[in-house]
């Protein structure tokens, strides 16, 4: 019996999982969402992703894929007559992938560093994050989205920051993005949270704030 359809193994507060939902919704693909308890991972998740055991995992007609950036590209190609997520030209694709990798490797690390630190270490992390975002921002010049006029691959990968960063700022007691320091980023944040597929999937703010407050307290007390 061949398993048919699309399943997403994710976690309600995970920015990586939400990317997969955005990509599927842009293509108009119906899917079943399985919310994982990361402290007690399901047998199915471990079976589908034995290599890294992480969410998100996409299962399409029984075939599993892990790594959100890989999954988003797959969705674009598997439903290639739908909404175009990746650019058409090979060079533009390389640029899009480069920006997404930069955001993942550098920006995410900087944002996490803000979240788990206090005092001087936190101030340094805020500065790091601002530098990263400044670099990303140059790719927004003259455009509504990283993808140009339309929400594209880099927007899908980096867009989580538009919703999560203000929450990180609130929970960590810092300011990272302002109109003065990062005007293009700030404007893009506003556009991102207004995109239909984004609006339809964002987790409730109060729930996310509460979870992240608790997580930050855990990190700080562990470090003490």
């Amino acid at each position: 019996m061949a398993e048919k359809g699309v399943k997403v193994f994710g976690m309600w507060a995970s920015p990586m999982a939400i990317r997969v939902e955005w990509a599927l919704r842009l293509k108009g693909v119906e899917y079943e969402y399985v919310d994982e308890d990361l402290a007690n991972k399901s047998e199915a998740l471990l079976r589908y992703n034995p290599a890294t055991k992480k969410v998100p995992v996409l299962v399409h007609d029984g075939k599993p894929l892990a790594e959100s950036t890989v999954i988003v590209e797959y969705i674009d190609q598997a439903w290639n007559d739908g909404y175009p997520i990746m650019p058409a030209d090979p060079f533009d694709r390389a640029q899009a992938r480069f920006l997404a990798r930069f955001a993942e490797d550098k920006c995410n690390a900087a944002l996490f560093a803000i979240f788990v630190a206090t005092g001087e270490a936190q101030r340094k992390a805020v500065h790091e994050a601002q530098q990263c975002l400044k670099t990303l921002e140059t790719a927004l010049e003259g455009k509504r989205f990283f993808g140009g006029d339309a929400f594209g691959y880099v927007d899908v990968i980096v867009g989580w920051i538009a919703y999560w960063l203000p929450i990180i700022e609130e929970v960590s007691g810092v300011t990272v993005v302002t109109d003065e320091a990062l005007p293009l980023m700030n404007a893009w944040f506003g556009r991102v949270v207004d995109v239909d597929v984004v609006k339809a999937t964002l987790p409730p703010r109060d729930k996310l704030v509460a979870l992240n407050k608790a997580r930050r307290e855990q990190f700080l007390s562990a470090a003490a």
Binding site: A51, T52, H60, K63, L65, A66, E67, V70, I71, E73, Y74, Q77, A78, N80, P90, F91, R93, A94, R97, F98, R101, F102, T135
Partner: protein, 224 residues
Amino acid sequence: MAATEEVTLLDLWASPFGQRCRIALAEKKVEYEYIEQNLADKSELLLRSNPVHKKIPVLLHAGRSICESLLIVEYIDETWPSPSPLLPADDPYARARARFWARYVDDKLFDCQTRLWKLKSGEPAHEQAKEDLVQALTTLEAELGDRDYFGGEAFGFVDVALVPFTAWFHTYEKFGGGVAEELCPRLVAWAHRCKERNSVAMAIADPHKLYDFVLYLKQKFGAK
């Protein structure tokens, strides 16, 4: 199209990331200018071509620069689709699996090997690096299975991504990471198979020369 325009590769002889690009260019029979970089005194061209990371390899083509070895290899594959297609053009799932495993080599294998030579032998962190390396190699061994190549019957993207690291097996053994023939015999056989290809034989480093280079790196950058 732009396929006939000049191609330049900024690289370093020992870099497994640069070697991936050299292998891909050779497989596609693309002529290019190779410029060896001095990372202790970075050239204007390198700094201009990769302002974000200032790292090698960088591919210059038709006046534009592409950075990050896996992105470069994909770009090469898309710009010169034949001969020797590295990613299957019409199989999104196989492409996605290939991208996942290529990323695994970067995220897991490269990370372990760096810790292996950088950290002080005997320390718990070094012991962990050894364990993680064994884990990474056995996972890759299992993924290869009985196949001739990670690409199946044909040499492909993951093969290009991983094969430069096989020159490091000798170094892994010297740093206590275990004997490759015992840990991952299939990978060893696969490495020999790949080295029968001219593109691979010409690109990958001599294991002994590489080990001497790593000793130099350890003396310069390793934990004291």
